[in-house]
């Protein structure tokens, strides 16, 4: 019998296989959009060659917030209290600014109970990737409307939503997030590219990913069903991402594309599907979002990007060393300093 060489498993630039980015087995419903998002996260981190040990995963409470258990088990993870993940993430990033923070939230966790912390996280432009797995309903409590549910959307029970939705993207853009996108769990390529670009950004990345709930909100009359989103998705731009470690560049046409140089040297190419859309303009982004609501479109793509605004770590002029790792010789002032303080009080 001829010996066959075991094929080497494919590895990324730091020598890890995609299996090294796996998590526990999902306990979410079959077909849940959140599982697809977990897969895209695994692919993006793997392809970008980011060591899972350098990553922290944070979440609040809800179906979405369970999902960090289902990817990247080699990363530390923190499942916090309902709606309050942003503050935990803020503290964690301040303690170790070298860490890559990935927050996973849901529409209830973000837009209702957590709206206060969400607002202030965006405002601080903390370096974090904040994903809303947005299905318009509370899944774990069996299908009540959330605050991102569209006006007129219908529950399985026949209840019609009579309040307008909170557009988390428009909110994030106005508040100070510096990379804001909307995608769809069923749009594999777009979400995958967007996540890779997110990893190249240093500032708050806010991605609202429509992620249908197959159990409670995937029926006729729902505006967060697979069918509705597929039928109404309106991509703003076609995304291409060139990581900084790729030597070969691809050509792009300056007339029809915009090139965004990311913080780590990567490039994000946005091929304009809409003729004059400028993703560096807050006004254009918010205006286009409002139009999309009126037109019942699910507008997706990179809505806004700003790579020059200072992030929170820059703003507070903090040392580059992780605060958590500073030695006592740095964090405890000398005996002489205490004596000086005492003398001033005599």
């Amino acid at each position: 019998m001829a010996a066959t060489a075991t094929p080497h498993p494919k590895t990324n630039r730091i020598g890890l296989t995609v299996l090294d980015y796996r998590g526990g087995k999902t306990t979410l419903c079959a077909g849940c959009g959140h599982n697809a998002i977990s897969e895209r996260i695994i692919d993006a981190f793997y392809e970008m060659g980011i060591a899972p040990e350098r990553v922290i995963k944070l979440s609040g409470i809800g179906c979405s917030s369970k999902s960090p258990a289902y990817f990247m088990s080699r990363s530390h993870s923190f499942n916090a209290v309902h709606g309050r993940m942003p503050s935990v993430a803020t503290g964690a990033v301040l303690a170790n600014s070298k860490i890559i923070a990935l927050g996973v939230s849901g529409d209830g966790d973000t837009a209702s109970i957590g709206i206060g912390q969400f607002v202030h996280l965006m405002r601080r432009n903390l370096p974090i990737i904040y994903i809303i797995e947005d299905n318009g309903v509370y899944g774990l409590t069996k299908g009540q409307f959330s605050a991102t549910a569209d006006l007129g959307s219908k529950l399985k029970t026949g209840v019609i939503n009579d309040l307008p939705p909170i557009d988390t993207c428009a909110l994030a853009i106005m508040l100070g997030a510096t990379f804001v996108g909307r995608s769809f769990s069923g749009d594999k390529r777009q979400l995958h590219t967007m996540l890779k670009a997110a990893l190249a950004h240093r500032g708050t990345v806010m991605l609202d990913v429509i992620s249908p709930c197959t159990t409670f909100n995937d029926h006729e009359g729902s505006t967060k069903s697979y069918k509705f989103v597929k039928d109404h998705e309106e991509p703003l731009n076609d995304l291409n991402f060139v990581p900084h470690f790729h030597e070969i560049d691809i050509d792009y046409d300056e007339g029809s594309s915009i090139n965004v140089s990311m913080h780590d040297g990567s490039s994000l190419r946005l091929r304009k599907l809409e003729h004059d859309y400028d993703p560096t303009s807050k006004v254009a982004a918010v205006s286009r979002l409002i139009e999309s609501h009126d037109a019942e479109e699910v507008l997706t793509g990179v809505l806004y990007v700003n790579t020059t605004a200072p992030n929170f770590i820059d703003m507070i002029d903090m040392t580059d060393q992780p605060l958590a790792a500073l030695p006592e010789s740095v964090t405890r002032p000398s005996r002489e300093v205490l004596e000086e303080c005492m003398e001033a009080l005599r």
Partner: protein, 612 residues
């Protein structure tokens, strides 16, 4: 509203009045926002500089300007620094309260008042001094809009002359107060001199109160508890500080910001810390836990309403086992309550803050010195025990100036607790976050960012097993809760021990904590000298209670628990922790009117309960 609580009128004045030296209290009644705080601090510091033990208490309204404020300075040659009920020397600057303030005085007190108020007809058993402030102000302060401020320094001069204060010390205190603001210092100094000269030429000393130099304050400092706590936190190596402004805790973090900017910015100009003003207390505690989980020494400071908001996260900190220090500068509740008055009203709530079975260690500083040292204890304990630790100060301690011996530099290195590094993980075959390896209930943790493929664990507020995996198994849940209870027993051994004063092992024991201490010290003397009653005294310094506390209760027939709250909150906690046979011994002394507790109230209450 008067703050003296008593009005003993009509007592006969002594025919010949013995001088009262270094043992009386001065009260300045004014309106807030009038700038009197500087003047009062100058008075306090002057007496301090003359070597006389002194304490100052500010009773102020929850308001920016225009409402009544009282500042009380107590001098005591015996070194008593608790509030004294009786006011001996009133400086009546507030027309709104002047009449009531005067009527509340005990017979024999002295009153300094603004001439147009004509208070001298109110009582015949007091000594009155009228001062024409407006006239004196106009002479020293040409600028009309500054006169309101300068007016205060005039009473400093008058008081200095009447009480025999050394004007050299007044000037020194005044120039320290105004530091680099030389023009303001000069203006104020002129005002003080004008007051002094007026008193010397126009007033005749007719009260017995006077200050004489002593040597009891040499080398000592004056500081408020919040500033002391701030210093303590800086020297404890704090790196992440979050806060939401709330009286009376704001000045703790504001002072900390000043100190950290001065002493904790590296040579490269970069901060070795992060201080974040959060959007609310929910976020403040969330950030503390996030930072603690990541391995930073993190803290926040708040008061009752903030603690209420922190309840859910406090339970998460307990259950996920994350370090973090929370300062509760207690004020009067419930609800908004009296935001600028002192209380020990959060004790029972904080001990069990959050839903489910939750317990938190609390440290109970009684002095500015302990605010400093317990900051270090709190950070060591929180990392050692991997659980949030609360430091229960109060408004009286936090916002008032106290004299103190200078603080001791911490000699022990920081105790960062059980943290596994990548090298440790390489050496060990496995790692289970919540396994009780050492038998003390405290597991080993790893920090995010640890460069080892086996380092990660999943911090979750949901049920978990030893490996921090999601679990709803009854045995996993119960075992974990039992280990947490066991960890609390470890805390019992690690927290600061109580301090015990024995006076012959008599029948009576007194247990107090926090700022009540200063009143109890005086009460012990009152009981002995006035009633011949000897009492032993135990001062709690932490919760959970150490074994010594149980022994103390067992060794006495009647034990009085002093609480500055209505419901005897520490008494309630003690009852839960005391042997059934001993519970009947516990008696309660409670003080809860928003004013700092005083010795006389405690003494009277104990004597009444003793049936004497």
């Amino acid at each position: 509203m008067a703050t003296t609580e008593l009005a003993v009128h009509g007592a006969e004045r002594d025919a010949v009045r013995e001088p009262v030296v270094n043992d009386f209290s001065i009260q300045v009644a004014t309106v807030n926002g009038s700038g009197s705080q500087s003047a009062n601090t100058v008075l306090l510091r002057t007496i301090f500089q003359m070597g006389v033990p002194v304490s100052g208490k500010n009773m102020f309204p929850s308001n920016i300007a225009g409402l009544p404020t009282w500042y009380t300075i107590r001098t005591s040659k015996k070194g008593y620094i608790a509030r004294k009920k009786e006011i001996d020397f009133l400086v009546a600057m507030n027309p709104e309260t002047a009449k009531e303030d005067v009527l509340a005085l005990a017979s024999g007190a002295a009153v300094l008042y603004d001439e147009p108020l004509m208070l001298n007809d109110l009582r015949s058993d007091l000594t009155f001094y009228a001062v024409p402030y407006d006239k004196l102000c106009a002479a020293v302060c040409p600028e009309a809009k500054l006169r309101k401020l300068v007016k205060n320094m005039i009473y400093v001069g008058v008081v200095a002359q009447l009480l025999n204060l050394d004007m050299v010390e007044v000037e020194k205190a005044l120039r320290k107060q105004f530091a680099k603001k030389v023009t303001a210092a000069n203006l104020n100094w002129n005002a003080a001199k004008a007051g002094y000269d007026y008193a010397a030429s126009s007033l005749t000393k007719a009260d017995p109160f006077t200050i004489e130099r002593m040597d009891k304050t040499a080398g000592m400092i004056i500081i408020d508890g919040n500033a002391a706590a701030a210093l303590g936190c800086m020297f404890a190596g704090v790196t992440v500080v979050t806060w939401y402004p709330i009286t009376p805790s704001s000045s703790l973090v504001e002072t900390l910001i000043d100190y950290m900017k001065e002493y904790r910015v590296g040579l490269d100009g970069k901060a070795t810390f992060a201080i974040v003003q959060a959007e609310d207390e929910l976020a403040a505690i969330g950030m503390v836990l996030g930072a603690g989980w990541s391995g930073a020494r993190s803290m926040t400071a708040t008061a009752g309403p903030g603690v209420s908001l922190m309840a859910e996260f406090a339970g998460l900190g307990y259950y996920v086992e994350i370090p973090g220090v929370i300062w509760d500068i207690q004020r009067v509740g419930p609800s908004t309550g009296l935001p600028t008055r002192t209380s020990q009203g959060d004790i029972e709530f904080v001990a069990k803050l959050s839903h489910g079975d939750t317990r938190h260690p609390m440290l109970l500083p009684c002095s500015v010195s302990e605010c400093f040292s317990m900051a270090g204890d709190a950070f060591d304990l929180t990392e050692q025990l991997q659980t949030p630790v609360f430091v229960m100060s109060d408004l009286d301690l936090g916002m008032n100036n106290w004299m103190s011996e200078p603080f001791q530099y911490p000699e022990k290195p920081l105790n960062r607790g059980k943290v596994l590094t990548a090298e440790d993980l390489e050496r060990l075959s496995g790692f289970a976050r919540y396994k009780d390896v050492d038998g003390d209930g405290v597991g080993y943790r790893t920090l995010p960012g640890t460069d080892h493929s086996g380092a990660a664990w999943f911090a979750r507020g949901s049920g978990h097993n030893e490996r921090s995996q999601y679990s709803e198994r009854p045995d996993d849940y119960a075992n974990n809760m039992d280990r947490l209870a066991h960890k609390f027993e470890t805390a019992r051994m690690l927290v600061p021990k109580p301090e015990i004063v024995r006076n012959d092992g008599n029948e009576i024991g007194i247990i107090a904590y926090g700022t009540s201490h200063h009143a109890v010290v005086e009460t012990l003397d009152q009981l002995q000298t006035e009633y011949g009653a000897k009492a032993d005294y135990l001062r709690l310094r932490a919760y959970p209670f150490a074994r010594e506390t149980h022994d103390f209760i067992a060794a006495h027939k009647r034990v009085y628990i002093i609480d500055q709250n209505r419901d005897g909150q520490m008494l309630q906690l003690l009852k839960l922790d005391t042997a059934v046979a001993d519970i009947a011994k516990l008696r309660s002394v409670r003080h809860y009117n928003g004013l700092p507790i005083d010795a006389r109230s405690i003494t009277d209450d104990i004597i009444s309960q003793e049936g004497k």
